[in-house]
Amino acid sequence: MFEFFNQSEVIKVIIIIGSMSIFFVGLFGLVTQKHIIKTFISIAIMESSVFLLFIGLSYKQSFLAPILTDGQQNFNNMNDPIPQAMILTAIVIGMAVLALGVSFAIEYYKLTGKTDIDEMTTLKG
């Protein structure tokens, strides 16, 4: 029964549909939720879905992690290191940008006392 899921095409379909579903869950939260922290959580969920899609599409079942360990002589039959390097830096940058956005939210709350994004209509402080 489980052998059906081990085909590489089926795994790719699972990865694409799954990460798209996570993206749309984040989009749903972004549209329907009102609190600003919820907005940031939704954006973070959408980010992680994109990371999953990137890493998942470079995954081959019979290949190894791109790290040389004992008993290996060369870098044959290893996964593509470029998407991993890109996502590695993207996660760190995403976290720093998230901290910046949260600081904007804190400062706005200090100035106006609002956390509801529907009420954030004033541009002046």
Partner: protein, 79 residues
């Protein structure tokens, strides 16, 4: 077997993410968001990307949630 594991982890992440964005209480939402990060770590490890898995474990489910909790502490204060 590995494909079934990937499918189950994806379904779990989707359920936890939906619960996180529809949660009324904000601290519960942040803790469920940590769960999304944990599921991502498992998937990155299955996808043979241990560097990304370590990064996501430290950042996605560690420091990000702490930043959210500190922000919640600030927002819930006065007024």
């Amino acid at each position: 077997m590995i494909g079934f594991l990937i499918l189950c982890t994806f379904i779990g992440i989707i359920i936890i993410a939906f619960a996180s964005v529809t949660q009324k209480k904000l601290s519960n939402a942040i803790i469920l968001f940590m769960g999304v990060g944990l599921g991502s770590v498992i998937l990155f490890f299955i996808f043979k990307a241990p560097d990304v898995a370590l990064t996501e474990a430290v950042i996605g489910s560690g420091i990000s949630s702490l930043i959210f909790l500190i922000a919640l502490k600030h927002l819930k204060g006065k007024r």
